[in-house]
């Protein structure tokens, strides 16, 4: 229950329902009867955090253990933060209303780089010293996991430990170890030394970093028995992995207000820009029986009337039709609809569309990612123009008239012709509409092209690539807008500046901790929100700290450079990424995992598609 003191300030803020808890299935325990209390902190507003599947899985997994109690915390929006600061109300957890600083573990999920200031700001609002070295006792331990934990170095000074890979098992093992240490009266340092022995745990303070005179990494040296390579944790058996049968059902509307069931983890595709596609290997599916059981359980506990079958690429589920058949046996009668969040251009069919309520009739979204075939081959997005046109023709015949296409600009080897090919593709979609005999009458076709700036990420074949300068990105954006001749096509793009900053932190090192620390002193937060993002002030901060952001974002690296994340092991070998990088520059594609194994290294986990018969 929320603390009584906030009652007054709730009358002054937008959407007070974000701050009060009280949802069905929120877990209330007696704090005197649990050994370890964990706050799961999501560094964005409630509506975004409550749409996230990971928090639901881990919340359930932790609370299943009788002597653990996991609660939720979200970043208060700026109006609430202001009120809390004025009234000196510290950040609190939604279930008990207790201050975050009363918890054993303070855990964050690292979903995107621009949330880093929110993370540290939440620690500040909780009244917890930011730097790990300034927190001397076993109580509290500050931890994080999630995709950005694959290069957590810009946050290394603030966190006691990071979880790499799948969290369902390793998080609980670390909590068990903590419980043991608490009983034995073991101190924080000894706890961290022991935790570093658990697979999937990275304790940054146990590694000394040396730099070369040019600012690149010279070496990472582990100490006190910490492993030289920290391996990510992998859960092979998705049928056996914990999945919740209930989760707190938000009282206010959230972004994804529906049941979400993970059908598979990983992705077979190997798109070279996509970090998730490499981090979550191998591709592992749940069985139809498991998915069906989990869908039934969640519908029965939440009352939602929509299920999202979620994953990186749900249409790659090997028995999608059988799965839909199985679910349809009960969902129609129960007035529950099914949706697929990610549709691929190459397996869109009228049959599939009839069976899922993936989108409203108003608009369909696809991601060809690049305009020219050459560019799509470079990024290994194995989708052809013919497939896209076939797909939009199906969509037109089925009554859709609005098509949204996502692209990236600033990709490796990209020329201005590649950029302009985005417009040509948009035009071809419009032409396809007019040539289509079954198109809906009386409605104009609208094609919107959205171009994001590419951000090179660790553990991808493009991790060596120097991001396009902002000037060049702006030029490409301008060319796109200026050359659009069709009234039926609209072009939009988003923030070269935010992409630049993302690129800095994505491939940053520990020296960036100083920048983040200053950012917090100066009140930075919600950088992923336009109303809060101030690029000029960020540049002042870098200057103040004597760091050149272009060194991290725009510099092309050599294959022999040691990266700040090279001591972290996600199964995919660096040699494979180098091969893939070379193939990219040669414009050669690589088959997907289902067609042929490319020997990336993820077979070391002996699971999923790596061991199945193809």
């Amino acid at each position: 229950m929320y603390p009584k003191e906030i009652e007054k300030i709730l009358q002054k803020v937008q959407k007070p329902g974000r701050y009060v808890g009280g949802e069905i299935h929120s877990v209330i325990k007696n704090k005197d009867e649990v050994d370890v209390r964990f706050t799961f902190c999501f560094p964005d507003i409630y509506e975004i955090g409550m749409s996230h599947l990971g928090i639901k899985i881990l919340y359930g997994a932790f609370n299943q253990v009788p002597y653990f109690w996991c609660e939720r915390v979200f970043a208060p929006w700026v109006d609430m933060e202001q009120q809390m600061l004025e009234k000196k109300i510290p950040l609190y957890a939604l279930e008990s209303g207790d201050p975050v600083k009363d918890f054993d573990f303070i855990g964050f999920t690292l979903q995107y780089e621009l949330s880093y200031t929110n993370i540290l700001n939440m620690l500040k609002l909780a009244g917890i010293p930011l730097r790990s070295e300034d927190r001397h006792d076993l109580f509290n331990i500050v931890v994080a996991g999630g995709p950005c934990a694959c290069n957590p170095e810009p946050l290394a000074d603030f966190f006691d430990l990071f979880f790499l890979g799948d969290g369902e098992e390793v998080d609980i093992e670390v909590m068990e170890l903590y419980r043991q240490c608490k009983k034995e009266g073991v101190g924080k340092h000894e706890f961290l030394v022991r935790a570093a022995q658990i697979e999937g745990v990275y304790v940054p303070s146990l590694y000394n970093v040396e730099y070369n005179p040019d600012g690149t990494i010279k070496s990472y040296t582990p100490k006190e028995g910490a492993p030289a390579k920290v391996c990510k944790r992998n859960v092979n058996n998705m049928d056996g992995a914990y999945f919740p049968e209930a989760f707190p059902v938000p009282l206010i509307e959230v972004i994804h207000d529906r049941v979400s069931v993970e059908v598979l983890r990983g992705c077979i595709r190997g798109c070279r820009f996509c970090q998730a596609g490499f981090l979550y290997r191998p591709f592992r599916e749940k069985s139809i029986e498991t998915i069906d059981r989990q869908c039934r359980a969640l519908c029965a506990s939440t009352g939602y009337d929509e299920i999202s079958l979620s994953s990186l690429s749900t249409s790659d589920y090997s028995s999608l039709n059988e799965l839909l058949d199985c679910l349809h046996r009960w969902t129609e009668k129960a007035k529950v609809s099914l949706s697929l969040p990610s549709l691929r251009v190459d397996n869109f069919s009228p049959e599939l569309m009839e069976r899922v309520n993936s989108v409203r009739k108003s608009g369909l979204t696809f991601a060809p990612e690049a305009g020219s075939q050459r560019m799509r081959d470079v990024i290994n997005k194995n989708v052809t123009e013919e497939e896209l046109l076939r797909t939009v023709n199906v969509a037109f015949a089925e009554g859709w008239t609005r098509i949204k296409l996502y692209f990236m600009i600033g990709l490796p080897t990209e020329t201005i012709d590649d950029v302009l090919a985005i417009l040509e593709l948009g035009k071809k979609v419009v032409d396809a509409f007019f040539a289509n005999k079954e198109k809906p009458r009386g409605k104009p076709v609208e094609v919107s092209l959205s171009a994001a700036a590419f951000v090179p990420k660790p553990f991808t074949p493009f991790q060596w690539f120097g991001q396009d300068s902002m000037e060049l990105l702006h030029e490409k954006q301008h060319e796109l807008k200026a050359n659009n001749r069709s009234r039926r096509v609209s072009v939009s793009y988003h923030g070269a500046e935010t992409s630049f900053l993302e690129a800095v932190f994505a491939r940053g090192d520990r020296r960036l901790c100083a920048v983040l620390e200053r950012a917090i002193e100066q009140g930075f937060h919600f950088d992923s929100w336009d109303e809060c993002f101030d690029f000029a002030r960020w540049m002042e901060l870098f200057e103040l700290c004597g760091l050149d952001p272009a060194f991290y974002a725009s510099r092309a690296r050599g294959f022999d450079e040691i990266f700040p994340w090279d001591h972290l092991d996600y199964g995919v070998r660096k040699e494979f990424l180098i091969e893939e990088c070379k193939r990219a520059y040669e414009g050669k594609t690589t088959p997907n995992c289902r067609e042929k194994c490319s020997n990336c290294g993820a077979a070391c986990y002996k699971g999923g598609i790596c061991v199945e018969n193809r």
């Binding site: 229950m1 701050y19 808890g21 069905i24 009282l251 206010i252």
Partner: protein, 216 residues
């Protein structure tokens, strides 16, 4: 098909959810309760629900109501129990009844304001002064901006009680489909005439008909 009236309270955390969020929450609970509710027909069938008088965000309601339709006859006590089991703890089902009056019979509502005050007696006196004026003009926020509004004809003071640091005011205010007056406007009046900013917890106790009897 039979229309029934669900009486419920909305307190604690639930007072901070909007009317639209309340309808979503009720729809999920009705679905979970497996009551034989009627769905609207059409492309997107949804559970038919209609509410008497939406509550303002932040105001508690002790006896609110909504109508639903049942496709089979069932025991209403049992139905109330089932629905209650599937609602968040701060939304409680009081009973399910057969409606006697239409929602258009609602004319007033009774409210209680718990106002924080260091000198509750002084505040009580100034509220008396304000309410004895011929007209009580406050600024009302509307969609078209601020406008002057006389609350005098809409407010009737029923009771006042002082406690330590607290003044409880019970009043009756217009509350109908033609228009409702937010009791918080009384606080606006105090601000305007006495220049004090007040904080109050507001509770809607019950809905009344034009002869001040309970809505049924």
């Amino acid at each position: 098909m039979k229309t029934v009236r669900v009486w419920f309270s909305k307190t604690g955390a639930a007072k901070y959810i909007s009317h639209l969020d309340l309808t979503r929450c009720m729809a999920r609970a009705l679905k979970l309760s497996k009551l034989p509710v009627w769905y609207t027909e059409g492309f997107n069938p949804h559970i038919y629900m209609t509410f008497a008088m939406p509550l303002s965000l932040g105001t508690e309601g002790l006896r609110e109501c909504m109508d639903i339709r049942l496709t089979e006859g069932i025991d209403l006590t049992e139905a109330a129990k089932k629905l209650a089991e599937n609602l968040p703890k701060d939304i409680a089902v009081l009973e399910i009844t057969e409606p006697v009056l239409g929602f258009d019979a609602t004319a007033y509502a009774e409210y209680e304001l718990s106002i924080n005050s260091e000198e509750p007696q002084v505040l009580a006196d100034s509220i008396d002064d304000i309410l004895s004026q011929d007209s009580i003009i406050v600024m009302k926020h509307t969609k078209k901006g601020e406008k002057e509004f006389d609350i005098k004809p809409h407010f009737t003071l029923l009771d006042k009680q002082t406690g330590p640091g607290l003044l409880r005011v019970k009043l009756r205010a217009s509350c109908s489909q033609e228009g409702s007056v937010n009791p918080a406007l009384l606080l606006e009046a105090v601000k305007r005439y006495e220049n004090v900013e007040l904080y109050a917890e507001i509770t809607r106790i019950r809905l009344l008909t034009k002869d001040f009897s309970d809505m049924r």
